[in-house]
Amino acid sequence: MKPQNAVITEVIHETPTITTLKTDIMLDAAPGQFVMVWVRGLDEVPMALSQPDSITVQRVGEATAALSDMHVGDSIGIRGPFGKGFELEGDRILLIAGGVGSAPLLPLAQLAHAKGVDITVILGARTGDELLFEQQFSKCGRVSVATDDGSKGHHGFVTELMSQFDLTDFDQCYVCGPELMMDRVLDILHSAEMEARSQFSLHRYFKCGIGVCGACTIDPSGLRVCKDGPVVHGNMLINSELGRYHRDATGKKIGH
């Protein structure tokens, strides 16, 4: 499909670096699916849908800065929804979110809550004011907070909070956040033999976003993060490139 025109109807400043753009387009998507967001004349980048009509953007470079600076009435191009989202399984679930990784997990929490699922969220960020969607998650279940600088909640990483729970009590565990965080979470889930009952939303360099070009594939499975993912079960990631390297726009391996 050619990009759909999406007009911005509301801009919400969530944290000092993160902004939600609500648009006039409502997409029928599963939680964890993504769209390709075209900033005309500049770039097109993948973004999770944080709501059926919204994306939530962290300012990291040129395209995300342009998106963060948009106003009501501005427009973007949207292709999607694409990829495989989260599968809601079981009655008791654990969500682990780091930074902007809360974006794809919020619609999952809301869907699970509506179905009466028992939800625990471990939410992490660098600082207290960078915590994303803490209030929204609190409406769906219990929330434990960790910050790198200790300005709110546990002083340290989300992985340290995991030890407060018997992980095997959960039917399914859902994870999205920085690569090294996800890698450590996978290790812990693996030790608890929970890897097959976990789902990770991955991040790789996307070009086509529709499973054709091969830019986003991971080793050694050759899975396409844009089409076979972005949500992948943990057991598919054991001994993979996760946490070790990814490829840049040229296809060259970049170590973590």
């Binding site: 050619k2 770039d43 097109e44 427009s75 292709r79 086509c208 529709i210 091969g214 080793d219 040229t250």
Partner: protein, 304 residues
Amino acid sequence: MTKPDLSIELTGMGMKNPTILAAGVLGTTGSSLKRVANSGAGAVVTKSIGIEPKPGHPNPTMFKLECGFLNAMGLPNPSYKEFRGELDTAKESGVPVIASVFGAHPDEFSKIIDGLDGADAYELNVSCPHASGYGAVVGTDPLLVEEITRAAKQTANAPVWVKLTPNVTDIVAIGEAAQRGGADAVVAINTVRSMAIDIHSGYPILGNLYGGLSGPAIHPVAVKCVYDLYQALDIPVIGVGGIANYQDAVEMMMAGACAVQIGSAIYDSISVFDDVTMGLSEYLVSHGLVLDDIIGLAHRKVGL
């Protein structure tokens, strides 16, 4: 009913079936090529590889249209030095791995082929419609194509295929130049130059402004190119363009292709190679034919 033998020998290279993954599709990494090989492709072609690392054009680089796909990837690749390891991984699949190579002049092609030794064949990309200084800029000049092919043949320890662009007045003239240069086969066609504009804003959609069309829309264009090349050349023609099922493959073979490449149709499923092979097999059985009977059949029907 016994299954017909679909194995072929193509430019001296044995293949279990005549379907090949086209260049630039799921060919960025060794493990991705291996995955496609394991899902039934008779051979796989790598992403086109150059001298220096190239990030490619800015996004949007590809999207689907009603009639096919538009792309302007811009030959992203990590350089032949970096790609070496990926080639070795791809070769673990057991099917032939063809290294696609692009450059601006004969020396560059030779250097890359030398650096990627061990490939089962080399496909010279003189046909990308949207990378300035490379590809089709090179591939529209018969003298340059002949020179590049000759240089590649001198360096390569394996067959050399030349991939042609349809964005010329006379594709046969370029095919003949490749044949004069010593090509073992030609591959036709690369994408058809094209463009799309966003009517909400007036912006061209592709980051590169224009690009190449692939998929169903270009199938009849490819059939005509293959038909003309088969008639004019003595070397094998490999058909590519919009093949998505066995009927498309049979049609391409009747035009003169001795093998087919499949790119965009992977969008629907990676199992397309298996599906085409099975369909082809059933088609041959039900018609009481073998592969050789259908290759170039259209020419024999009209007495050429």
